[in-house]
Amino acid sequence: MLAVSDLHAYYGKSHILHGVTLRVNEGEIVSLLGRNGVGRSTTIKAIMGDVHAEGSIRFRDEELCGLPPYVIAHKGLGYVPENRDIFPTLTVRQNLLLGVKNTRHAGRWSMDDMFRLFPSLRERADTPGGVLSGGEQQMLTICRTLIGDPHLIMIDEPTEGLAPMLVKQVAEMLVRIAERGVSILLVEQKLTIALTISRRVYVMGHGRVVFEGAPDDLRRAENVRKEWLEV
């Protein structure tokens, strides 16, 4: 469904991505792992059109490379940023409303679905997004993207800074999202949830993919974990 090949990206003169190639199939949860600064976030920002890139990004038989972000969003790609870019002065409900792309055509998720997934968001529906806790903000960002009905959602470090209880909740939620037929490309630094919920994993190092395989393959590949993941 998503096939990225030989993707290059630059920040000014520095070459960040050196030909990234990866693929996500229908309904799959795929994790993109690696240490900080290896280009994981840049990869998904490039796919979303937020970072200028060269190469090929094919999504549902269309080439996306070079299109502006809002067009890419309408093709069915969703992006959940790492910094939980919620709109702080708008209420939870208004934040969700902004995630809706097409007001005339109902997608697979309604506002009520979101509140059912996260009852705490319903309680805080009329609270400004800026005063939510870190965990609630993370839920809100994921829901805001989901309500736009993407076929594939790319999530950047959703468990960063969350308590272990919440990390588990996020993992369960991602599984439920995938069950509804939404593919997930998950960027993570820690292996914990990535290995338990992903069907396949990629490991990145120095701007390229250095490992590809099933979670069990990565569990066995001690040298890969040592060289590219463990600190």
Partner: protein
């Protein structure tokens, strides 16, 4: 005295709301694009001139609607084919671009309509005193100006807070990248806001034209005060622009109405300096004479005490 206070408040409201029609657009455009649009008051001037020409053909009322629509479209074109291209070269280039647009508009206005002020009359239907109080008349036209600007204020407020489009605009003020990735065409939102901002300035131009004068320098006269308003209110803050517009509007009308000298004021607050012969010329200056300086004085004070402006969040 009651007469001066009451009429100054009324006139201050009229002038303040007029300022708000310009400052609201300017501050929204700044909030979104990070660019202080030097040409903003030029669109106000275009509104007045377009209305002057249109009014002579189709009458004042159709001109009140048509002129802002035309100016709004022109503004949208300037954004779409000018500012958007210049944007990638950075803020300095954008600033200079808007400066250039202001000069081009001023020169074109002189070329088309000439240098002398246009004798542009208040429409006959509104040319009567609305009421008399303490022996002075309050013209119906000023009440009409107030009515139009309040209606526009309510309209903008409703759109920004009650509609989805308004939410998109609010969110784009702070997080344009995220709004785009949620599927909204942010450049188009910018263009529409720029166009509406210009149209609002033009409405101000149409209604102010007969009162403040329709002449090629009108953009500069009001433009500099409008900049003071948005900086005092806090760049990018709509509520700040509203408060600062009314503040500066009333401040100026009060100062103009007060026919006392600086010396009198100092005496009244207990500074005896005015009685002496030294600096005699300074003490004779009346408050009305310093009125034009007051907004700038306020600007300097606000920037010294609160550099973000009254309601702003970023340094100016």
């Amino acid at each position: 005295m009651e007469q001066i206070v009451l009429f100054s408040i009324l006139n201050g409201l009229v002038f303040g709301m007029l300022l708000f029609m310009l400052s609201s657009g300017l501050t929204l455009i700044f909030g979104m694009m990070g660019v202080l649009n030097f040409a903003h008051a030029s669109f106000y001037m275009l509104g007045a001139y377009f209305a002057y020409t249109l009014a002579s053909r189709v009458g004042f009322w159709p001109a009140l609607v048509l002129a802002p629509v035309l100016v709004g479209l022109l503004g949208a074109l300037v954004e779409r084919h000018g500012l958007r291209r210049v944007h990638r070269f950075g803020h300095v280039a954008e600033l200079i671009f808007t400066f250039g647009v202001a000069i081009v508009i001023e020169e074109l206005v002189q070329l088309v309509w000439g240098r002398p002020a246009k004798s542009y009359q208040v429409p006959a239907a509104l040319d009567f005193p609305l009421f008399h109080l303490f022996g002075s008349a309050f013209p119906a036209y000023k009440a009409f100006m107030l009515l139009v600007s309040v209606a526009i204020f309510v309209f903008i407020f409703a759109i920004l807070t009650r509609t989805r489009a308004g939410l998109i605009i609010q969110a784009s003020l702070t997080h344009p990248g995220m709004v785009a990735m949620l599927g909204h065409n942010v450049p188009r939102v910018f263009m529409i806001v720029f166009g509406i901002g210009c149209a609002l300035a033009a409405v101000a131009g149409v209604i102010a034209g007969p009162v403040l004068g329709t002449f090629p320098g009108m953009a500069q006269v009001l433009g500099s005060v409008v900049f003071v308003v948005v900086v005092v209110g806090g760049l990018g803050s709509l509520s700040g622009a509203f408060v600062a517009s009314l503040l500066i509007g009333t401040l100026q009308t009060f100062a103009v109405a007060l026919n006392v000298s600086v010396g009198n004021v100092l005496m009244a607050v207990g500074v005896p300096a005015a009685a002496s012969a030294a600096l005699h010329d300074v003490w004779k200056v009346t408050v009305a004479q310093v009125a034009p300086i007051l907004p700038y004085l306020l600007l300097v004070l606000v920037l010294m005490i609160r550099p973000t402006g009254l309601f702003g969040t970023r340094e100016t």
